[in-house]
């Protein structure tokens, strides 16, 4: 992974000192609440319902064992013993004391971490597919490009006071597990006819109140021009994005109101001006960044493992976990393991200090000392030898981290919701738990197969409900919590936005409705067909009719 040099270290130390000074001036009454607000947000500090919340940046989701241990330490000493993995591959702490925050930031800096630009109207932490660099079918490793973008976007002097927050995802896998098309900017890596890397760049995607799939702004940008292409989009947005209404300030509204063609033209004009400036990337810089991700020291000439085959034959529980949570690796003899954090009874994405330490240790012993956070709020050990999978699985069981849930209905994406968040209209965590309790039979879940279920506690859509195959949105009706269900969303390559099923339900009704939806699917599916494909084939009506016929 990327290692800081003296420049990165210097800027991080300066940022910590800067924020300490700003906090001091705020506490001394020399900085107003309104003036301090964007400063603290751009340092990851929110004021929540019960306590401040500190969101720590995990650039493109990648963590070392040392960093995991530091996060465990922070959870233990400054929080109530746990953290929460976010849909932007970050980790947030919900219970720090405001006065401890400078110390936390100083501790994070020791392991090259921080909370910079995890909030506020600036360019946020760049994300990617959590299998980057490991997926068997990968086009190109996105991480070096993420690092290049991380540096360009950090402390960018022109874009720290944008109309609204700005999120960039980069994806080099065909599957696209980065939700690339629902980002303010989405970058796809592809191969040009000459075999060279190209970038297809989309802009104007997003979730929130107005979900939109991004428009292609550049079909094929060549390597040296990545940053100028991004900067051209940012500049048009910074200048023309709406600042009169917070709810219309995202770039998706600008692209829609301007029209994609005219927006593209404006960006092209800006790009022509700057593409050959000093920000043009050099081959040396691209190779330097790639060198940090050249792949760990894999054992060569490992082939399929006889020991693995035997374990799969003899241990049905292991075989189920392997089928669900293990994916193909590009290096022969290796596999990608997803450690599910979706055990029933724990909030999706919550992780405690013991588990963080435990995973740091497992990462060290099984996966070259690195782990990743996925936007689906799980932890990935990306480089595990196949012959050691069974041993790893048994160790995971010791901390109840062996849930074979990846991609199943219970692998729920869920925002913190009304239990924590001041914006929420409804609680989301208790609903996720009820659903997990209701669908606890693993054979039944396995029989349902791939089905994404995403829950947001309000229309800001932190739980990505628009792009769940089944999406659930918490709404407030005269002070009571209700849940609106939508169907057919997906954040993969064939991205689509969910369509609302009909009137919302009370919380206790939701599991029953899910059973009806699943029953319709099971009755109508072709052999081997996933929920989303059946939905796309048969449409909305059969689901709607069954749900509301039974309901009233």
């Amino acid at each position: 992974m990327y290692r800081y040099d003296e420049y990165d270290h210097a800027m991080l130390a300066e940022r910590v000192a800067q924020f300490q000074d700003q906090t001091r001036r705020y506490l001394d009454g020399k900085l107003s609440e309104a003036e301090f607000l964007p400063l603290r947000l751009q340092n990851g500090l929110y004021v929540q319902r019960l306590a401040p919340m500190l969101r720590v940046a995990v650039p493109y989701g990648l963590l070392s064992s040392a960093q995991l241990r530091k996060l465990a330490h922070i959870a233990r000493h400054y929080d109530k013993g746990y953290g929460h993995l976010t849909t932007r591959q970050n980790i947030q702490f919900n219970w720090p004391e405001l006065m401890d925050v400078p110390d936390i930031l100083a501790e994070l800096a020791e392991v090259e971490m921080h909370a910079i630009q995890t909030s506020g109207n600036c360019i946020r932490n760049v994300t990617t597919d959590h299998f980057a660099g490991a997926a068997a079918d990968e086009i190109e490793d996105a991480r070096p490009w993420c690092e290049i973008i991380r540096q360009w976007s950090s402390f960018h002097p022109e874009f720290a006071y944008l109309p609204r927050k700005f999120k960039i995802a980069v994806c080099g896998t065909p599957a696209d597990q980065a939700a690339t098309q629902v980002h303010d900017i989405g970058v796809y890596l592809l191969r040009g006819d000459d075999g060279e890397t190209r970038f297809r760049i989309l802009a104007g995607g997003g979730l929130g109140r107005t979900p939109v799939i991004g428009q292609v702004i550049f079909e094929q940008v060549e390597e040296p021009h990545l940053l100028s292409a991004l900067e051209a989009i940012m500049r048009v947005y910074n200048r023309e994005g709406r600042r009169d209404n917070k709810y219309k300030a995202r770039i998706k509204i600008l692209v829609r109101e301007t029209g994609a063609d005219r927006f593209r033209e404006k960006v092209r004009r800006e790009w022509e001006r700057i593409k050959d400036s000093a920000m043009k990337l050099t081959g040396a810089e691209i190779r330097r960044c790639q060198s940090f991700f050249s792949g760990p020291d894999y054992v060569q000439r490992l082939n399929g493992s006889d020991a693995l085959e035997e374990s799969l034959r003899n241990d049905a529980e292991f075989a189920l976990w392997h089928r669900r949570n293990v994916r193909a690796h590009k290096q022969p003899g290796y596999a990608i393991v997803t450690v599910s954090l979706k055990q029933t009874g724990l909030a999706p994405g919550d992780i405690n200090d013991r588990q963080l330490d435990f995973l740091a240790d497992l990462a060290e012993r099984y996966s070259f000392g690195e782990a990743r956070i996925s936007h689906k709020q799980n932890i990935i050990l990306a480089d595990v030898e196949q012959r050691r999978l069974h041993a790893l699985w048994r160790e995971l069981g010791a901390e109840s981290l062996e849930t074979p849930a990846l991609g199943l209905l219970t692998d729920i994406i869920c925002c913190p919701g009304g239990d924590f968040c001041a914006l929420a209209n409804a609680k989301s965590i208790p609903l996720a738990e009820e659903i997990q309790r209701d669908f606890r039979n693993s054979a039944e879940l396995e029989e349902i197969g791939d089905l994404s279920l995403n829950i947001s506690g309000c229309m800001n859509a932190c739980g990505h409900h628009h792009v769940g195959n089944i999406g659930i949105l918490g709404v407030d009706k005269k002070g009571e919590e209700f849940y609106q269900i939508s169907l057919g969303g997906s954040s993969a390559r064939q991205a689509s936005l969910g369509k609302i099923l009909g009137p919302a339900f009370a919380r206790e009704e939701v599991p029953g409705v899910l059973h009806i939806l699943v029953d319709v699917y099971k009755a109508q599916r072709d052999p081997g067909e996933a929920f989303l494909d059946t939905y796309r084939r048969i449409g909305h009506e059969p689901f709607k009719q069954s749900v509301y016929a039974d309901h009233h």
């Binding site: 540096q151 402390f155 002097p157 200048r239 000093a278 050099t282």
Partner: protein, 173 residues
């Protein structure tokens, strides 16, 4: 009169008079020889008169206005002031960079309006070289802002090579 920081020092005497609003050209006749910064619409309307005006002149742009409107006249303008109606309106950062990088404007670029200590460092990186501080800002504290960071990743006006180029040069040396 606001306190002005110019070239990272407190300016003892500011020769510029900022006309926040100006209805007619009589203001020019009332004080001949004075150095005025006029609003864009005034400038566009009375450009002929301003050409004959003996004193120095500059224009101020609000955050929704763009340098394109005065692109042809930049050589005759000793100063361009860029307004921050509120400190979190970031459009003038873009205007400053565009003036420097695209139009190669060599004159003074001044930040006016809601100009606060914690935005000064980024302003300087975007090409501002003078700063009319909001009345409640402590000038000494503001001077420290220019030392918030020792460098930056991006190409900027005060450091035209982005860090990746400087790193490379350093390795070659």
């Amino acid at each position: 009169m606001p306190i002005i920081i110019d070239q990272k020092a407190i300016l003892r005497q500011d020769r510029w008079t900022l006309l926040r609003e100006a209805s007619g050209p009589e203001v020019l006749r009332a004080a001949p020889g004075r150095s005025f910064i006029v609003p864009l619409d005034f400038y566009l309307r009375y450009r002929g008169l301003l050409d004959e005006y003996p004193g120095e002149k500059g224009v101020w742009l609000d955050s929704h206005e763009t340098p394109e409107a005065i692109a042809g006249d930049l050589a005759n303008l000793a100063i361009i002031a860029l307004n921050f109606p509120v400190f979190r309106d970031g459009r003038s950062f873009t205007n400053a960079r565009e003036l420097r990088e695209h139009y190669r404007y060599q004159g003074e670029i001044r930040a006016i309006g809601d100009v606060l200590r914690d935005q000064l460092f980024y302003m300087a990186r975007c090409g501002f070289d003078s700063f009319a501080l909001r009345h409640d800002q402590d000038p000494e504290t503001c001077l420290a802002a220019f030392r918030d960071f020792s460098t930056g990743y991006q190409a900027s006006i005060d450091e035209p090579a982005p860090l990746f180029r400087r790193r490379h040069d350093q390795r070659q040396a």
